[in-house]
């Protein structure tokens, strides 16, 4: 979706402001949100890309006006409601009011160490890779209303396949409820001048990791 989360190349957000000796969490609730997201993800009802799509789907003013972990909290509330785990009335009451939806795979303290590691997103390839390192490619000009990992700034541009990263779960499909639909994943590198025009720095290159459906022969 062409949302405000897709920030590459936007102007007006100001300087980057590193915080010296930044704590891991700025308030205890931030840690609870990280951990709840991990634990609820462990239930297996949604995937990492579905979680991303819910955060991207926050109203633009909420997305831009909320701290990072607030976005995670709001996204998690939406996921829990959408997947029938909790009700809006329960959120308002601050307590459970209805029976739980039966779930398996509740994350226990004993399982938690293993849950700190992500699973692999690589899958067996349904077909040979269409491109190889060194191939000239062009990203497609797509504007899907659903989840995609092809940023706007990198659409419709010519680049070079630098590396094949394996065959990976396709976010656009999985977030649309169409299953994992694995596709070949490539690192594609662009000249900054191709992305940003002739005034851009000729000594800068930018790469994305692009699934095969994002690419066509240049």
């Amino acid at each position: 979706m062409n949302g405000v989360h897709d920030m590459g190349g936007m102007h007006g957000f100001g300087k980057v402001e590193p915080e010296p000796d930044e704590p891991v969490f700025h308030a205890p609730w931030e840690g609870r949100v990280v951990a709840m997201n991990r634990a609820m993800g462990h239930l297996g009802l949604w995937t990492i890309d579905i979680g991303r799509f819910f955060r991207e789907s926050l109203p633009p003013h909420v997305y831009l006006g909320s701290s990072y972990y607030k976005k995670w909290e709001l996204g998690l509330e939406d996921l829990c409601v959408r997947y029938g785990l909790i009700g809006g009335d329960e959120l308002a009451a601050g307590h459970a009011l209805h029976p739980a939806r039966p779930v398996t795979c509740v994350l226990t303290a004993a399982d938690a160490p293993e849950a700190l590691s992500r699973g692999s997103f690589e899958r067996p390839a349904p077909a040979p890779a269409k491109f190889k390192a060194g191939d000239r490619v062009r990203t497609r000009n797509i504007n899907p209303p659903g989840h995609t990992r092809l940023p706007r700034y990198a659409r419709g541009h010519a680049g070079v396949v630098e590396c094949i990263r394996g065959c990976h779960v396709f976010p656009d499909a999985v977030a649309a409820g169409k299953g994992e639909d694995p596709h070949w994943l490539y690192t594609v590198v662009f000249e900054a001048r191709e992305l940003w025009g002739e005034a851009a720095d000729p000594a800068v290159k930018v790469s994305i990791d692009a699934w095969e459906p994002y690419l066509e022969v240049a």
Partner: protein
């Protein structure tokens, strides 16, 4: 989705957000716990892991090993997931890719779409990495971003920005500072900053206090 379109709480100032969010998060955790979806002890474990065990010291150890041992450096550049797995450092990394800075090339990592970051070797990302200024500018003005960090690259250094759009995760192998010949891995690791492994900083130069005996 869009449950928050009419949320009366969203536009309070940052000061009130803290109290509002404490209450909101407590309410959510209460409901999820009462319904048996989460075990608060598991949450405690995850928080403790990121506060005390999983952080940039893991990446610093990997970088120091790569500086000290050419064979490990080659293995890291060829397959960082396998090399880091063999090191037994921290939690198991997946789809990890190391990119190496040289006098000719400086690498910088960003996630313009969200906040993808190599948690397993650097811990949770800093606020600036997840915020709009960095996500918007890293791909269009990387030298300006470096200037925000007080970093000026020597003339003639090319820049490569890696936008983490997939589940691949990038770790920058910074250049080893001059004057560290003969240093142990433990000493070298003290020079490796988190930002140098993202590409928004350089490794520290040795100073008298850190110098090897």
């Amino acid at each position: 989705m869009n449950l928050h379109r009419h949320d009366p709480h969203h536009d309070h100032g940052p000061g009130s957000e803290l109290g509002e969010m404490q209450l909101r998060v407590r309410a959510l955790e209460t409901i999820l716990t009462e319904k048996g979806y989460v075990d608060p002890k598991a949450l405690d474990f995850i928080i403790d892991a990121y506060e005390t065990r999983i952080g940039p010291h893991i990446g610093a150890r990997i970088v120091a090993r790569a500086w000290a041992e050419p064979d490990f450096r080659r293995a890291l550049m060829a397959d960082a997931t396998a090399a880091v797995g063999a090191l037994g450092a921290g939690s198991r990394a997946v789809h990890l890719i190391a990119v190496e800075n040289t006098p000719q090339l400086h690498n910088m990592v960003v996630c313009t779409l969200c906040s993808c970051y190599p948690w397993e070797v650097l811990g949770l990302p800093p606020v600036w990495y997840k915020a709009a200024p960095y996500r918007s500018r890293a791909v269009i003005d990387p030298r300006g971003v470096l200037a925000d960090f007080g970093v000026t690259l020597p003339a003639g250094t090319d820049i490569r920005v890696w936008d983490s759009t997939a589940e691949t995760r990038y770790l920058v192998l910074p250049m080893r500072p001059a004057g560290t010949e003969g240093w142990s891995e433990e000493q070298l690791a003290t020079l490796v900053t988190r930002d140098s492994m993202i590409g928004t900083g350089l490794a520290h130069a040795p100073d008298a206090q850190r110098a090897a005996p």
